[in-house]
């Protein structure tokens, strides 16, 4: 495997680890699949479609998201929004992320020194 491909795969794995938190944090208001993709990309988190869309279904199956079909511009779209359970989980995930982020910052800074 070439080095570039290896790094791309590792970066993809890193992003996958944070997508759940990113999605939950961005779904305080209803969004449909493609709009979530654009929203995340607009904020600097490029996510593969094949990763994001199935993830939305899984989070819904876990009770962290709710969804409903709505017809707009003569086209049905599935809208997702954070559920009551998701709202309880989100602050806990945020706290975990802050701890992890601080720890990782320590590791990365050690490397620089």
């Amino acid at each position: 495997m070439e080095q570039n491909q290896l790094i791309d795969n590792m970066a993809l794995e890193l992003r996958r680890g944070v997508i759940v938190l990113a999605v939950l944090s961005q779904l305080q208001e209803e969004q449909y699949g493609y709009s979530i993709l654009k929203l995340l990309a607009g904020k600097g988190l490029e996510v593969d479609q094949g990763t994001l869309y199935p993830l939305l279904r899984r989070l819904e199956a876990q009770g962290l998201l709710e969804s409903l079909w709505r017809v707009e511009e003569a086209r049905p779209r599935r809208y997702y929004v954070i559920s009551t359970e998701g709202r309880k989980v989100l602050p806990l995930l945020k706290a975990e992320w802050k701890k992890l982020s601080a720890t990782m910052a320590g590791f990365v800074n050690e490397e620089k020194e």
Binding site: G33, Y34, Q49, T51, Y53, P54, R57, W69, R77, R78
Partner: protein, 324 residues
Amino acid sequence: MNLIDRYVNAVADRLPEKMREDLSKEIRSLIEDTLDDRARQTGKPVTDEDLIVEVLRSFGPPEKMAASYLPTRYLIGPRLLPIFWLIVRIGIGITALVSIILLGVNLGGSSIPFSQVNIMIGKAVTDFCTTAIGVFGNIVFIFAIIELLLPKMAEEKGKVWDPRSLSDRAENDHVSLPECIAGIVFTLAVIILFNFYPQFVSIGSLSNGVVTFAPMLTGEFFKYLPWLNILWALELVKDGLLIRENKWTIFTRWMDIGLHVTGIVVALTMAFGAPIAALPAGSIFASDPTLSSFFAPFIKGFLILIALASAADVIKKLYRMIKN
């Protein structure tokens, strides 16, 4: 049917029926949203085939897309894999044993033309392969059903897994399951051969294009048979214990050494006692004086060789035990 329809159908074909309709609708909606956006960015119409191809390509092949919505599934998962391989080995081993016995019965039970021997062996191999594939397929089928019906893993149900439940097997205590199974199959084959089909321990001769077999074992051999049966039965018990414990214990190690030593005593007694095998009287081999004079020392030498190999094995095992 346009490309989007074909793509959605291809994904739907790979999804379980209960989620097919809903997911198809959602995937179509996602594709159309993406297409709209790309059309705006490029200034191309949404009907542009190149643009549609580009969008569908970004979604990935239908099988990959469908797979991303499904949990990882196993035909036979890690829970059942060790027992699955054990059953496969036993099943194939028994099939091999039955094939060998049937071949022996067919070859030794009647006088057959020499030209037919190769054909019979070839047929036996083909029959074994066919039966073995059938046995393997049936075992896979049964295990796949068990895998499907098994409840979720104990850990998922909230049961706390205790690492102390892991086997405390040291590297030196490792038991090779295939060796044990092979040992059991071989011992059973030997028991069946010498107790039920001793006439198959024979020598063949070719006369007028017909192979005939004449038994070689003498009455002297059958005096040892009860003792050999006890040894073989204990060998089976030892292999059974090894499979059950999945490691060598002090008991099984000493049992193994005891069986080896007893085997050496029996082999040497047979070697230095009256002949246990002889060239059948009246056969063309018995009438050959050179062959006749070499046969008895050959059997004696063979038994001594077995005893020596066994003694070397005992010394090696004892050395390892003392060392550890």
